[in-house]
């Protein structure tokens, strides 16, 4: 397991810190969870905005270094280069209208991993001006980074049909 030793050290340090902080702070994780949910929601919206603005680098900044991307009718994209290529194609559309609904976020108690799911409607006008609408379900697995930001480790879109 990568980072096992540093993780173990962090845990030991944290226990010492917990000892000092005492049990009075048990309320904090609830607030933390809400903050994490809000941060994930904001990151998801920012990713959609970056896609609409066709800002490839910005889009990629929401993914971890070793992400996977599963979208309808395409092979699995594994790794950042493959995900980037897929996004490049996606952003080549004339116009993108990306909507999500019914999003539910489950954040791990430790606030380091989260799963988001819900529905999406993508209306895409291709380079020739043809518009198609696709509805489906999405699952995003988010990992909190060392700097506190949330990034997508696994991104799946699946069509309803």
């Amino acid at each position: 397991m990568p980072g096992n030793r540093s993780a173990a050290l962090s845990i030991v340090v944290s226990f010492a810190a917990a000892f000092i902080a005492g049990c009075a702070q048990t309320q904090a994780p609830v607030e933390t969870r809400k903050a994490d949910e809000a941060a994930i929601t904001a990151a998801g919206s920012a990713l959609a905005q970056a896609a609409i603005a066709k800002d490839l680098d910005k889009c990629m900044s929401f993914y971890v270094d070793d992400p996977v991307l599963f979208i309808p009718g395409a092979p699995a994209m594994v790794g950042k280069d493959a995900v980037r290529k897929a996004f490049q194609g996606f952003l080549g559309a004339q116009k993108l209208q990306l909507e999500t609904s019914g999003l539910i976020i489950d954040v791990a108690a430790s606030g380091d991993l989260a799963m988001e799911r819900g529905s999406y409607t993508n209306t895409i006008t291709d380079a020739k001006g043809k518009t198609t609408t696709e509805t489906g379900k999405l699952v995003l697995v988010w990992k909190k980074q060392a700097d506190g930001s949330w990034k997508i480790a696994a991104d799946t879109n699946a069509s309803d049909k």
Binding site: I11, V12, P75, A76, A109, S110, D112, K143
Partner: protein, 171 residues
């Protein structure tokens, strides 16, 4: 929030769960802390092992065409994305899995490449590849390999269940 703060909060919860929050907080010695850290590391390893074992359990029940056993691995509100249209909820997933396991000559190989377990062991991301071989009408084997990402959630009884099963073919 910064990482050390998150770990601190996580540790507070764990410490409270493990030692209990008595009205008069217990004094934790260095040895107690070491013991708690060791216990947490051990349960983390056990979680990863349980998930890797569950991946192989799915192979066994699918090849053994035991639909109920396969379904017992899924959470009640699970989602399955990647086999046919999106399947939401256990009933829909059941239909999709039934389709999968009824294929003739089914042989499945799951290779787990990474398991990321959340620090307090309630959520995990399991990634790898799944190779599915079935035989066509002429009895000729057909193999396809997919990349998968499974999100597992720990249930109240300590068992891990699949909350989201997502995959896509590699070609």
């Amino acid at each position: 929030m910064r990482q050390p703060m998150r770990l601190l909060l996580a540790a507070v919860v764990t410490a409270c769960l493990v030692v209990g929050c008595s009205k008069q907080p217990q004094q934790l010695s260095k040895d107690d802390l070491a013991k708690l850290a060791a216990e947490l590391a051990q349960s983390h390893a056990a979680d990863e092992a349980a998930i890797r074992a569950a991946d192989q359990d799915f192979v066994k029940c699918a090849e053994g065409k035991d639909l109920d056993k396969c379904m017992s691995l899924y959470a009640d509100d699970a989602v399955l994305l990647g086999i046919g249209p999106a399947s939401i909820g256990k009933e829909n997933i059941r239909k999709a899995i039934q389709g999968l396991i009824s294929a003739p000559g089914l042989k499945i190989t799951v290779t787990t490449t990474s398991v990321t377990v959340a620090a307090l062991g309630d959520l995990a991301l399991d990634q790898g590849t799944v190779e599915v071989t079935t035989t066509d009408k002429k009895g000729k084997p057909q193999t396809s390999t997919s990349q998968y990402a499974l999100t597992w959630k720990k249930e109240g009884d300590g068992s891990w269940k699949i909350a989201a099963d997502t995959s896509a073919p590699l070609k």
